[in-house]
Symmetry: D2
Subunit: 204 residues, 4 copies
């Protein structure tokens, strides 16, 4: 079993993205599954193209994307991606679309196909705070959540995908007021636990 795990590059003035750092910190094998790591640009469409290319090359069973959700306190497993780009800040190529469909012919939204409740449960068993989220926003994170679900549904019906949002790293909030964070060690342990839940479900 192969799992493609993606992490975005830094955006919004940050010099680091906890998602990319966490992906880099993952072991190469988790619960027997081979982990393929991919850095993804925080740019609409280009992000999806980079992931589509990696799927074509590596033929993974699962695509799990990780993104930064600055301000959240815990690891949040997203339930759904919605078919709209509505950016309140520019992406890394300067795009700032408003109420623009990601895929004009696609459905309004797509539920992710990974076992979100089992993933949350597995992270919590490690004593790491986690919960289900019902919105991945309308920025590039949602773009990838929806876009990968749409790609798999239309081209690779046997593959599954999902998205996990993670808090800032502590170093990112030193100058921010009252902003929660999570250490790289816990983030790595949490994402590893989530991947274990994915493997267990796929194996059933």
């Amino acid at each position: 079993m192969k799992i493609l795990v993606t992490g975005f590059d830094p955006f919004g003035g940050e010099s680091v993205n906890p998602a990319l750092e966490t992906v880099k910190s993952l072991p190469d094998t988790i619960a027997g599954a081979k982990i393929i790591k991919l850095k993804v640009p925080t740019v609409r469409y280009q992000s999806l193209q980079v992931i589509a290319d990696a799927i074509a090359i590596h033929d993974p069973d699962v695509v799990l994307s990780i993104g930064q959700a600055g301000g959240r306190s815990d690891i949040t497993v997203e339930r759904i991606g919605i078919n709209v780009d509505d950016f309140s800040i520019a992406d890394n190529a300067g795009n700032m679309p408003a109420d623009d469909p990601i895929c004009p012919d696609g459905p309004d939204a797509r539920f992710v196909t990974l076992p979100i409740k089992a993933m949350v449960e597995k992270i919590r068993k490690k004593k790491i705070p986690a919960s289900v989220s019902n919105s991945a926003g309308t920025f590039v994170c949602n773009h990838v959540t929806y876009g990968v679900c749409q790609l798999l549904a239309t081209k690779y019906p046997g593959k599954k995908s999902g998205f996990i949002h993670i808090p800032y790293l502590p170093s990112q909030v030193v100058e921010k007021k009252n902003t929660p964070s999570m250490s790289l060690e816990l983030l790595t342990e949490g994402i590893t636990a989530a991947i274990c839940a994915i493997v267990e479900q796929q194996d059933m």
Copy 2:
């Protein structure tokens, strides 16, 4: 140089107190200063008595107390203790005083005597979020902040004291919604950095 570092036992239904865990995790020597560790009951007056006894026995140069501030995101170095016990929950002996002076003959409040800005700066240099707080509340944490300042001012004018509030541990917020936390590793590193700032100032 000797520093007495105190940590409260768990209260308010928690099974662990990050303050006590952090104190236990500190090395026995920091920047050349001997660290004396003390567990303190989360009980008004009794907490102060235990600290007063330890001061009498160990004759420390500095008393640094650590307490849990559930809901805060960063390590907060307290600026002041105020002369009032006004508990919204019971302490571990069932006391729940309302607007009761800690020391009827004492001043309304006392500034701590440790270098709070230097302590925050030193923690932040380790890339760990920290800030000054202007209120230690009106529960046992403030009781100790004020009470120790008052004790030193009246009996041991050469000694200094202060208080640091720390966030929940991640394990404590697994079942809490949207609540920030900090790992024991970062807490320990942060408190160690704060103690370094204290030693540097004392050495000047």
Copy 3:
């Protein structure tokens, strides 16, 4: 032009629901449109049935539902309803479904068909805080957001619907700690402004 405006009855231990109070406070005509007011039970399916019955009787052009979002600071116009009931508290009939589709044959989600950005803009012009929300949750509010969209899409393609979440009333948060609220006067003025935006768009 006729607009059916619905408000839920109190739930979750509250004795009042700001949505119902606001609906009751609306004038009978707004910008020339007739306002039909409907109280809706906070119960899955039953809520939708009551609305479906009212649509059959009154034949409105627009269905606008209002619900309480305790903890939010501003009036939030929902963008989408998703096809899942996943209640963390029981509804008023004791139902507590987990990850249950609202409509097993329906799409994963449906965008509301009202002009959400124009509605937000119109409320803000009245100097009342408002924003777009990308999640109506997974309780009865989302059930109605999705369910009404699904009903109109399949049975009444010419009609439009949407959902607005509003904060607690001040009286509801007197005993809650650090919880935002909004006065009934502002809520009524805000919802009236949103309805003006709906009428303007329909008239175009």
Copy 4:
């Protein structure tokens, strides 16, 4: 009985200060007490001078100052002022002192002398959210809280003073994200209730 009620002018880039608006909206007599209204500049020392001048002219029995606490959800009655100016933004004259005592010869802090719990209770009876606060910050609001207490304690021992922080007005948060506010009507009703509690206590 005469009560001097003060409100600051706008600061920090705001075009309005809810404190000043609320003070202007108060009736001229509350529970039989004459209300003297005073606009105060958000400038250290100058604020205190303006209040001291008004005390000399009007000889009030009570001085109640009102200030904006952006981000708070409810009306907060302050318990204490502390003897330090430590501004994170400049006041309206460009002053930005760091850790500077307000009154070098004064005590570290002074409890306000108004009945804070009775004031909170009276506001809550009007179904308006209110609570006691243990920190007025370290900006001009605290400067006035401490400074007036110190002035009265040293020059006018028979007079009493206190401070109330209030949330933003709704119009101030239209462009701010997730920020609580309170309508001018509720603020005025809340401060009026607090003044009733003051009059009742003074009459006893």
